[in-house]
């Protein structure tokens, strides 16, 4: 048994069952089991690694929210006061939240463990509620709107309305999670629920574009909180049945998502990171690529510093190309060999139960390595005016460009000899993979240049938003790329076996 959120939550469940001793026992047990486990070090690193990713996503959300604060408020400021505006925005956001939860959110239940607790039904309900209360899925909108709330709501409306607003957002997200479960559990009612939500949105839209007013005073806010929370509590029985349904149909629900979109950050990504780093430093071939990438980065930095008057870099395309290459050159160079480098032991990899996580672990390494380059870049060259531009290019590079470059695995048809001599390098280079990466890079840079020609004002915002979306959805996109690779796995495997 490991120190998991579930164990801690179950301990809290014991409190609800007025069993303090059980609570203390479970907490102590979970800590001891984690600490005394031999893989404690690995677990901690794995945990840190995953949370770096999570914090990065939350940071991106906060930045995106700040952008909304700066530009979104101006858009509708003549229509409503800030409080009404945020309720309008959050209504749309809750609908998006619901859709995202229906598609992506999967809660894992340790059903057998809960059943051992006294008063099973009550424990399951308590577990469910606590699981939702602590779920990152239910706080991300608060973070997204945080900047707007602190700048526009708190100074005008005061602490009480602000707190109620945050509470509203949280409970509405809780409700969205509940509705998503209902839709997954009883698909037939999903149409009714979506119809109700659409009606609510229509009413809000009418409210906005006509003089029909709903004042968001404290009383209305309290009513909203109470009514939303009541729905959450009332639908607990549905959740209970849903959890039972999940527990009884574990196999069928898992397989459906394993085959296409199902990916979770859980699992030992760390072992793949270590494997990759060992390959990078121990194989002469990969070491050469690493040196090439580092030299190219240094060269680009050197050339960049020569643009003293920044004349050349004031040209949009030059700025984007120079900056994006520096951020992800290492990743692009190494992605030319992804899966062709692993081809010599691919038989074993493909038999491992969690092989699909290799791409995600590789992406996380690239993201973390690029953070250092971004920070150096940021410290050396960024003035306040170009902070947003540099960040947008950085996010865009990590998003569509880097994530798409993983598609090169679809063209990994040859085995790269990791211990080949220098002279043979050119003869056995992964040409189709390199070409794919060049084309991918050109495609995304091309799109941005075309957009900049017609809509120069929104280009950086587009880059930022697209980048954020790709980064957030990267586990799913990478999983889908692996799914495409997996469809042709037999022919690839037979090619890898050839000398």
């Amino acid at each position: 048994m490991y120190l998991t959120r579930e164990v801690v939550l179950l301990s809290v469940c014991s409190i609800l069952n007025l069993d303090i001793m059980n609570f203390i026992f479970l907490l102590r047990l979970s800590w001891k089991s984690a600490r005394r486990n031999n893989s404690f070090g690995n677990d901690i690193l794995d945990f840190l690694f995953k949370y770096i990713y999570l914090v990065s996503i939350l940071f991106v959300l906060y930045i995106a929210g700040s952008l909304l604060t700066e530009y979104g408020f101006e858009f509708l400021s003549n229509k409503a006061n800030p409080l009404e505006l945020i309720y309008f925005y959050s209504s749309i956001a809750i609908l998006i939240d619901l859709i995202l939860k229906i598609i992506f959110k999967r809660t894992s239940f340790r059903f057998a463990f809960i059943q051992q607790l006294p008063n099973t039904k009550r424990s399951i309900k308590a577990y469910w509620i606590l699981n939702e209360l602590f779920s990152a899925w239910n706080i991300y909108l608060i973070l997204f709107f945080f900047s707007f709330i602190t700048i526009h709501i708190y100074p005008n409306e005061g602490i009480i309305k602000t707190m109620f607003l945050i509470l509203n957002l949280f409970i509405l997200q809780l409700l969205a999670g509940q509705l998503a479960n209902v839709i997954q559990y009883r698909r037939k009612v999903s149409v009714c629920i979506l119809a109700i939500i659409t009606t609510c949105l229509l009413l809000l839209a009418i409210h906005f574009y006509t003089d029909w007013e709903i004042k968001m005073n404290v009383i209305n806010q309290i009513i909203l909180v109470i009514s939303s929370f009541s729905v959450v509590v009332l639908s607990l029985n549905v959740s209970y049945n849903y959890i039972k349904y999940c527990a009884e149909n574990t196999y069928s629900t898992n397989t459906r998502f394993n085959t296409l979109m199902g990916v979770s950050l859980k699992g030992n990504l760390f072992k793949y990171n270590i494997l990759f780093l060992r390959m990078l430093f121990r194989s002469p071939r990969m070491r050469q690529e690493l040196i090439i990438a580092v030299l190219l980065s240094v060269l680009y930095f050197f050339v960049y510093t020569k643009f003293d008057d920044r004349t050349m870099l004031s040209v949009f395309s030059m700025n984007v190309i120079f900056s994006s290459i520096i951020f992800i050159i290492l990743s692009l160079v190494l992605n030319q060999y992804i899966f062709s480098a692993e081809a010599s032991f691919f038989d074993k990899l493909s038999l491992l139960p969690d092989m699909r996580k290799l791409l995600l672990s590789r992406y996380l390494i690239f993201v973390i390595s690029s953070v250092f380059i971004y920070l150096i870049w940021f410290l050396l060259y960024s003035d306040t005016k170009s902070i947003f531009q540099t960040t947008a290019i950085y996010v865009y590079s990590l998003g569509p460009i880097l994530v798409s470059s993983f598609g090169s695995i679809l063209f990994a048809n040859h085995k790269i000899d990791l211990f080949v001599s220098n002279m043979k390098l050119a003869a056995s280079s992964a040409t189709s993979q390199s070409l794919f990466i060049i084309l991918t890079y050109s495609f995304w840079i091309g799109i941005i240049n075309i957009l900049n020609n017609y809509y120069p004002v929104i280009t950086y915002k587009f880059m930022f938003i697209t980048g954020c979306l790709f980064i957030i959805l990267s586990p799913y996109i990478l999983n889908y790329i692996y799914f495409l690779f997996n469809k042709n796995r037999y022919s690839k495997l037979s090619k890898y076996r050839k000398k």
């Binding site: 486990n37 031999n38 893989s39 690995n42 196999y251 397989t255 394993n258 085959t259 030992n268 760390f270 072992k271 270590i274 494997l275 060992r278 390959m279 121990r282 194989s283 010599s344 032991f345 691919f346 038989d347 074993k348 493909s350 038999l351 491992l352 139960p353 969690d354 990791l418 211990f419 037999y490 022919s491 495997l493 037979s494 890898y496 076996r497």
Partner: protein
Amino acid sequence: MDIEIKKLKKQYNNQIVLDIDSLFIPRNELIGLIGNNGAGKTTLLRLISDLSKATSGRVLINGNDVSKSEAWKQYTSSYIDKNFLIDFLTAEEYFEFIAASYNISKNELDTSLASLADFMRGELLNKNKYIRDHSIGNQQKIGIIAAIISNPDILILDEPFNYLDPTSQHFICNYLKNINQNKGVTMIISSHNLELIYDVSSRIILLDSGRIIKDVVVNNTEQRDEINAYFMF
């Protein structure tokens, strides 16, 4: 965990290399797969491990079609050839990597490795030597050990006695018998060494040109003699 094969056929360039109508391997069975070169032993093991695409037919492990599900990977382990080794790792790094993939704790790994100490003969661990620099016999040992340490319910080994010295051959033979009897591991082992395969297996399958021509229980001496006669000129 049982293995079921239904109408399995593998064809290369219009040549049928494997054609098995039906085969059921129940839990705890230790199958010895024998046959001359090109009989289809490795092809069968690759198909069971989903490393090769069947022209038609299905392989089911515990009811899961291996080509459509990944659930069986959690409890199945195999070593077929050198392509299973990560040659830039040391033996212990490789074992740790495999153990992490199957959520095997360090303690469990150490216990497994300790039980195989006589097999390793002090030549594999703490040598600061990459797998690629080991002798071919030691590489074979590393592959076999890596397959065993994941505590599988189904173990598939292709010619595990090749390249091993006689002592190691007998050790691994006894070890496999032991885990088959004590842990209930279902095994399929192919080999050209009839003496060892008779010793280790509970059932022998003889393949010829991709077809099963004998499926016998080992302790039936009459049938064993028939198999021996098959390999004589």
